[in-house]
Amino acid sequence: MNTKDIVYIALFAAVTAVFGLFPPITLPITGVPVTAQSLGPMLAGAILGARRGGLSILLFVVLVALGLPLLSGGRGGFGVFLGATGGFIVGWVISAFVIGLLIEKFWDSLHIFNAALSIAVGGIVVLYAIGNLWVSIVVDVSYWQATVGAAPFLIGDVIKVAIATAACLAVRRAYPLISRAR
């Protein structure tokens, strides 16, 4: 891991923190708040690849745990992890890693469909699996009930998958960082 990799890792952690500064948008009808912050893990994985993307989000998560108010709404500290949404925040690390792994695999023939699929699998399927498991333990409800409870957040995450896919493809043309599947 050379200096450039370390700087990419650090700066993407900073980008994820900056996404948290944007005020959340409340979706019409359902009233579910959607934050830009979960774009961070998707983009880190899709642009830096599995290793660097995962480490970048891990760095961000550790800084939150150390007490920096980097999560959207200025939240931070250990309490965040032990709360109901803690699983989603820890899940971001694995989510970024999985997205990176899939994008690396498809890299040489990356197009809108396999990019969107990679980001959706890592950013929704894997993330919700971890996040909902956590909710079911902390709140003491069944896994199925936790999954149903998380459903309203899907709309926001589908939009974010679309944005991350477009961004990933645009950055791949302008500034490719993943050389090829290893």
């Binding site: 700066l11 007490g67 032990l82």
Partner: protein, 200 residues
């Protein structure tokens, strides 16, 4: 730089070692899940609450820790009431409130720099698995340094896109933000290498 959530003071908790406080939090976090009785959890919760004035924090600061999770506590209580009974509801909300208020206390009484130092010490044994503590420290300090820089880049891009009528488009913000961040990263990496940073 980004300010932490630390509030200055000179109580026993302020003076305790950062690593020790984190260990206590982990123990509490595990412990509450092993206690199934609400009266025991209530005593625990009150004990944590008493630690706030003992560390020099007023009720406003304690309330600031609890307020963000209040609606969650209400929701969890309602869910338990619906699925089980009120005792189960109390167990769930007392557990969560105790952990969150103690975690808040650890964060309030520990400087981020002390927490970082504790983390660096804790990472020493990982060196034999190929984790280089100096590289990790470099990454940590760089994040804190670059959050304001990237926020500034974000503002500039938003202004530029507003002039083009694109300020409502997230993509028109995200793509230039990433590309400028990556360019900055290349320059920073060159600058670091030019100063012969080589921990290997």
């Amino acid at each position: 730089m980004i300010a932490g959530l630390y509030i200055d003071g000179n109580s026993a908790l302020h003076r305790a070692a950062a690593g020790l406080k984190v260990l206590a939090l982990v123990l509490l976090g595990t412990g509450v899940f092993l206690i199934p009785d609400w009266p025991v959890l209530a005593v625990l919760l009150v004990t944590v609450f008493i630690l706030y004035p003992a560390s020099g924090f007023g009720p406003r600061i304690l309330w600031a820790q609890i307020r963000p999770i209040l609606w969650l506590l209400a929701l969890f209580f309602a869910v338990q009431l619906w699925l089980n009974d009120w005792q189960a509801g109390l167990v769930v909300i007392f557990r969560l409130a105790a952990i969150v208020s103690f975690a808040g206390l650890v964060t309030l009484t520990t400087r981020t720099s002390d927490m970082l130092a504790a983390l660096e010490r804790a990472m020493k044994p990982l060196a034999r698995f190929g984790v280089n503590p100096e590289k990790v420290s470099l990454a940590f300090s760089m994040v804190l340094r670059f959050i304001p820089v990237i926020a500034q880049i974000g503002h500039e891009i938003r202004d530029a896109q507003r002039a083009r009528g694109l300020d409502k488009s997230v993509l028109a913000l995200v793509v230039p933000l990433i590309i400028r961040t990556l360019k900055t990263a290349d320059d920073v990496a060159d600058a670091i290498d030019a100063r012969s940073f080589d921990p290997d």
